[in-house]
């Protein structure tokens, strides 16, 4: 028994004595706790302890996440979705892991700053300083590898950039990249490798370095802040208390970041969807779908922005920006203990560290400004610049001429034009970000279907979703494909008239619904740009029939037209809720009748035959739409009188045509409907 330890007689005391005789644990605990803190406990000494705490938190939460995570291209996103949205408390577990990783980067910066400012890197602590720098690189490596693991769009595209940068290292770069990525394509082995790095190699290495770091810290004792004005204190409990309070504060901040939005929703009286609390989960990674909102995590934004400084330098610039300069900075930091021996060395080290941190802060601010400036730049002040830009197409000479070659005006306009470009870039980024949010939400909605995710993975689900894929196939975002001729805009929308005017084919918004058919039967609209106005059918038989025959109240009574309208919508499978059975029957009879629609149109075997006009059997239904998109020149549709519409069966796989048809018909999964059906 150690001197100073009071003799114990209880059973616990005897057990403690028994163990102490065989392990010497009392001595170890004593050594761990009773360390002299010269000048007393201080808050500035807590940063190292908070880092150890943050790492422990990551180990604990990481192991539990590991118990539910499945690294492969078909299961990574899916298992993270399951953790986040379906497992009890999964959102909290993942939230703590996600935000503690960010807290760790902040704590690293603070610890480094404190060590440099206090001169704690100087002899005899040089080796420990170097170990600390290695630990910093390991933590950043874990942050980088962890970002990919959910296999969502942002992690995927950020990792492509990061690994491509690794590829520009001279000589070994391409091989290095191939080894990290696990091949030349990103997939299963990228995930298994990143996961092994993130949860195995890197933390194991970190633990080794951390043990030596802490052992050396104990060997040298705490580096006291000079001058010492207060009496010494003990590590336990004085400094431990401060450390523990700091740890709790770090955890409170992390919990706050996770919970404050949810608490706000609750206070506003809303229901909290816990799956959406905490860390974000983007849409599943899609190599075919570029991601304009791709950004690294905020603590790497400065590097991202720094690379822009070398824009226009090509591969050399990237090499300088991504490897040489950061390498030189790390080199200087490793040399700090030696630099510190010179007369002004310490001051240089402090200034250098502050400059690097300030520079990183400035670059981060610049990056954020570039992305978000359209939120605070008043675009109305740029109206002149925008007008000039649109008129001249940005041509320098034309701009100069328009401003009367006045150098002062040209310089002022250049500034305005630069501001306009910044606004546009930011606007595009924000649009891409909000689109990414919508897609992420939708992916989660689809993953929550009662049928669950197919074994082919959530990406398959997203790609087959009419709501997400339809507008892209239609060309709604870029005005290509279908949208290069057809409008797809609600006639009630403010900009509808302008969009109809530039379209050269019918508006397909609400195609097949009663509202759409009513417009077709409106003599004032049928020959307008919304329907046949900009097509070869403008002077065709249908337009003439609607204008001449259907306006003849002797021949077509309004309730007959309405019955036909309802029957056509029902044929499309988009029945109007107000339609009655009698009305539909009457409508069908009118469509089939040889002296009405049936004069030209085939309908359900009415004997008219195909060729004269489109078949109205199953009109605008899924099969009908797939058929006309595949080949409008088929005799079931427009035959020889087809006006410019290409047969998409040559350009588009059948599956995509089906997705288009479903999208046009508004036929996609809705979670609210599924919940309603389940309730019934």
């Amino acid at each position: 028994m150690k001197p100073g330890t009071p003799p114990r007689r209880g059973p616990l005391g005897r057990l403690a004595d028994f163990l102490d005789d065989r392990t010497g644990w009392r001595g170890l605990v004593h050594e761990a706790l009773f360390e002299r803190v010269p000048g007393g406990a201080r808050w500035r000494y807590v940063w190292g302890s908070t880092l150890v705490f943050a790492f422990m938190t990551q180990v604990i939460t990481g192991l539990f996440l590991w118990a539910s995570y499945a690294p492969s291209a078909q299961t990574a996103w899916e298992s993270v979705y399951y953790i986040q949205h379906e497992m009890t408390g999964g959102w909290l577990l993942r939230g703590i892991h996600h935000f503690m990783a960010q807290a760790m980067v902040v704590l690293l910066a603070l610890h480094l700053l404190q060590v440099v400012i206090d001169g704690a890197y100087k002899a005899p602590r040089e080796v420990n300083f170097w170990l600390g720098l290695v630990l910093m690189i390991l933590v950043l490596g874990m942050a980088l590898t962890g970002y990919l693991l959910p296999w969502d769009q942002k992690g995927y595209w950020a990792t492509i950039v990061a690994t491509n940068l690794a590829g520009i290292v001279p000589v070994v770069g391409p091989s290095l990249q191939q080894v990290i990525v696990g091949g030349s394509e990103y997939g299963h082995h990228t995930l298994t490798r990143f996961f092994a790095l993130h949860a195995g190699f890197l933390p194991a290495t970190l633990v080794l370095f951390l043990v030596v770091h802490l052992a050396l810290f104990r060997k040298h004792g705490l580096h006291a802040k000079q001058p010492i004005t207060r009496p010494d204190a003990m590590f336990w409990p004085d400094q431990v208390l401060k450390d523990a309070v700091a740890m709790l504060a770090v955890m409170a901040v992390v919990l706050g970041v996770i919970l404050v939005p949810a608490v706000r929703t609750m206070l506003a009286g809303g229901a909290v969807d816990w799956g959406h609390v905490g860390a974000e989960l983007g849409a599943p990674a899609d190599p075919a779908e570029s991601y304009a909102a791709a950004r690294p995590e905020w603590y790497f934004l400065f590097l991202f922005q720094f690379l822009k400084v070398f824009e226009g330098w090509g591969a050399t610039g990237e090499f300088l920006g991504a490897i040489v300069v950061p390498g030189l900075i790390m080199g200087v930091m490793f040399l700090m203990p030696i630099i510190g021996n010179w007369r002004l060395g310490h001051r240089f080290n402090v200034a250098f560290t502050l400059a690097i941190l300030a520079g990183a802060g400035l670059l981060t601010a610049l990056a954020l400004n570039e992305d978000y400036c359209s939120l605070w730049i008043d675009k109305t002040t740029l109206a002149d610049a925008e007008k000039l830009h649109n008129e001249t197409g940005g041509d320098e000479q034309k701009i100069a001429a328009a401003l009367g070659n006045d150098p002062a005006k040209i310089a002022a306009m250049r500034k305005q034009l630069a501001k306009l470009e910044a606004w546009r870039n930011s606007h595009a980024f924000l649009a891409a970000s909000s689109r990414a949010k919508v897609e992420a939400e939708r992916a989660v909605e689809l993953a929550g279907r009662p049928e669950r995710i197919p074994p082919t993975g959530a990406l398959d689900l997203v790609r087959r979703d009419p709501l997400l894929r339809g507008p892209k196939l239609f060309g709604l975002l870029d005005g290509k494909d279908c949208a290069s001729c057809h409008a797809h805009v609600d006639p009630a929308a403010a900009d509808a008239a302008g969009k109809f005017a530039v379209a050269s084919a019918a508006n397909l918004h609400g195609f097949g619904t009663a509202a759409w058919v009513r417009g077709l039967f409106d003599p004032a609209r049928v020959a307008g740009p919304e329907y046949f106005g900009n097509t070869a059918h403008k002077d065709g038989d249908m337009v003439a029939y609607v204008r001449d025959e259907m306006t003849d109240r002797e021949k077509w009574k309004p309730d007959e037209i309405e019955a036909v309208t309802m029957a056509l919508a029902a044929e499309a499978g988009l029945p109007d809720p107000s339609a009655t059975a009698a009305q539909l029957e009457r409508g069908r009879a009118l469509i089939a009748a040889g002296d009405r629609c049936g004069a030209c149109h085939e309908f359900g075997g009415n004997g008219t035959g195909l060729g004269a006009a489109p078949d109205l059997t199953g009109w605008a239904g899924r099969d009908w739409l797939v058929g006309i998109i595949a080949d409008p020149t088929h005799e079931r549709f427009y035959g020889d009188s087809n006006d410019r519409m290409p047969a998409f069966q040559k350009a588009m796989p059948r599956e995509q045509i089906e997705i288009l048809a479903d999208w046009l018909r508004g036929d996609w999964y809705r979670a609210a409907d599924a919940r309603g059906a389940a309730a019934e």
Partner: protein, 186 residues
């Protein structure tokens, strides 16, 4: 500059001070560390709140495919299966032994899952009884235990119905293995 030194300061002679400080240090450190642990356990215990798919009738065979000769035939049970986030359509999830007596239209259905430890019960080599290849539990064609047997209960009978078109459906269910009572898994 002072010579580099790595001497450790001497430990304090009197460590007994600041009881409140100690208590507060333990409370703060404990609370901070328990938070991630609690979050982890909360998620780790998620399976306790989950239930297996509800028992439902699954079509397994046509009546004509089960000769009325008293000999059992084995049929796979193919149905939709959900595994955490993945949904499989029409997957084999198990097997049943179906049998009908000579001249009878009544079908007896036994789960092929051994009630002892969950292996798959097979026809014994001689073709006169069932036998589990794992621990040699033997059962009669009616599912009864052939003593001595490691199995604590007879084979699990499943509800079975024959529709008017001759389709045979069984109510597919999995029961807890190793106990004397037939208790469906939660």
């Amino acid at each position: 500059m002072a010579r580099p030194s790595s001497d450790r300061p001497a430990p304090d002679a009197d460590p007994r001070r600041g009881f409140l400080a100690k208590l507060a240090a333990i409370a703060c450190g404990g609370l901070a560390t328990l938070t991630p642990l609690a979050a982890g356990l909360w998620a780790f215990l998620d399976p306790l709140g989950r239930r297996s798919a509800a028992a439902r009738f699954v079509p397994v065979a046509e009546l004509a495919a089960i000769p009325a000769d008293g000999l059992p035939r084995r049929f796979p049970v193919v149905t939709d299966r959900k595994d955490a986030w993945t949904g499989y359509a029409a997957e084999p999830v198990g097997a049943v032994w179906l049998r009908r007596e000579t001249g009878s239209d009544v079908v007896q259905a036994l789960s092929a899952t051994c009630p002892h430890a969950g292996c798959s019960v097979e026809m014994a080599a001689g073709g006169t009884c069932f036998r589990c290849p794992c621990h040699n539990s033997e059962f009669t064609f009616g599912g009864g235990i052939v003593a001595p047997s490691p199995s604590p209960r007879p084979m699990d009978a499943l509800d079975c119905r024959v529709d008017k078109d001759g389709g045979v459906a069984v109510q597919w269910q999995v029961f807890l293995a190793g106990i004397a009572d037939k208790v469906a898994k939660r």
